[in-house]
């Protein structure tokens, strides 16, 4: 019985980040990088994966050290840990994937002020086991990456006529340039949130309808 409970709890912690508590669509966290680098799909993916690495490693370290870090200085300690891993990602990208590093630029370093990561440390990793923290971090980061791609893929298709740098429509396509410019980021996320809200509303409508019908 216990094992089944553990497994389902673990699954819950992982899955919640993907949809129910999706960091961008529900909690509206981590706005800054989301909109700035989603002008191409590759950049969105790269930013999502970089954030995944930082969130995962920070959560592991924070969870390991949770009994050692006193309450009063916990935020400072979290920030030091997060900044460390962000620097690691920054230098690693510059060394191994210089093209992507150039594209993402200073926004890699800005992962450190992504409210999502600090939020997860404060509300989860500091209070749970390493195993669960890993699952939570993975779920949240995958949800984040998924959301980034949801913004980035349409922006690239509409704004450049390509996907992952592969031209889709050939020369005849007149790109909707504003989509790869800053306003496009605002619009795309706004419309996605709109869609999300509409879907959530419909779902709750159906639920209440079903309840009433009973």
């Amino acid at each position: 019985m216990n094992e089944l409970d553990n497994k389902s709890q673990a699954a819950q912690e992982f899955l919640k980040g993907l949809w129910k508590e999706n960091p961008i669509f529900i909690s509206v966290l981590g706005m800054c990088p989301a909109l700035a680098v989603t002008n191409t799909a590759i950049n969105s993916l790269a930013m999502g994966l970089a954030t995944t690495f930082v969130l995962l490693s920070s959560s592991i370290l924070v969870s390991l050290l949770k009994s050692v870090i006193p309450k009063q200085v916990r935020i400072t300690a979290y920030i030091i840990i997060i900044a460390t891993f962000v620097t690691v990602v920054d230098f690693s990208l510059a060394a191994f994937l210089p093209a992507i590093h150039k594209e993402l630029g200073a926004f890699i370093a800005l992962i450190v002020v992504n409210c999502l990561i600090l939020g997860r440390q404060e509300s989860f990793a500091s209070k749970n086991t390493v195993g669960l923290s890993i699952l939570d971090a993975l779920g949240m980061s995958l949800g984040f990456t998924f959301a980034m791609l949801c913004i980035g893929i349409p922006r690239e298709i509409l704004g450049s006529g390509s996907l992952f740098n592969i031209s889709l429509f050939g020369d005849a396509f007149e790109p909707w340039v504003v989509m790869i410019l800053p306003p496009g980021g605002f619009f795309m996320l706004g419309f996605l949130l709109l869609g999300f809200n509409w879907y959530a509303k419909k779902k709750s409508q159906n639920a209440t309808d079903n309840k009433l019908a009973k």
Binding site: L110, V112, C115, F186, L193, W198
Partner: protein
């Protein structure tokens, strides 16, 4: 290097920190859409940005050449300290302003715009004066953007907005339109 006027105008209008780089959105989307609030938040931003720009320049030029991997951590420490310092100074010098700004000051610590300013201006290799001018322009730009967005939001409060689009969604769409308007500033000062 770059003309000082260009640096200022570019940060304020052409490449506005909030509307072109999406920095400084974090507090905005979470804080209420009152015009007064926006101005105060912007003002606090400018204070902290000026101090941060100065410290970032000093750090970058003389200390970080020995340990470039400490850049991010040291910038964050500088920002957190600047915020503390501004808070204390305001408490002593202008308690009214401190009361009014109250909650916003600690929020600035994790504000992407301040760290973004430190990173951008050191990446571009700006000197001390250039850095301060850049901070002024950037801070002004953030204030301008926040004020515009708050102003429009105040207006929309009396409108009949469908519930699906209420909240963050409509704010983003409004921000997008203002961002498009700011695109018109491109080409300013480059004859």
């Amino acid at each position: 290097m770059d003309n000082l006027i260009w640096i200022f105008v570019s940060a304020l209008l052409v490449n506005n920190f909030t509307l072109s780089y999406f920095l400084g959105l974090c507090p905005f989307l979470g804080v209420s859409g009152k015009l007064q609030t926006a101005f105060r938040l912007g003002l606090a931003n400018i204070f902290v940005m000026l101090i941060t720009a100065a410290c970032a320049y000093v750090l970058n030029t003389w200390i970080l050449i020995y340990a470039p991997y400490l850049r991010l951590i040291s910038f964050i420490i500088v920002i957190a300290s600047s915020v503390q310092f501004v808070e204390m100074a305001m408490k002593k010098l202008s308690p009214d302003l401190f009361q009014a700004l109250g909650i916003f000051l600690p929020l600035i610590t994790t504000n992407c715009a301040i760290l973004g300013l430190a990173l951008f201006s050191t990446n571009k290799g700006y000197g001390f004066v250039e850095g301060m001018v850049y901070a002024l322009g950037a801070g002004g730009g953030v204030t301008l953007a926040l004020a515009l967005l708050a102003g429009v939001r105040e207006e929309t409060k009396i409108l009949n907005i469908p519930s699906v689009i209420q909240g963050t969604a409509i704010n983003l769409l409004i921000a997008g339109i203002i961002s498009m308007a700011f695109m018109g500033f491109a080409g300013l000062f480059s004859s």
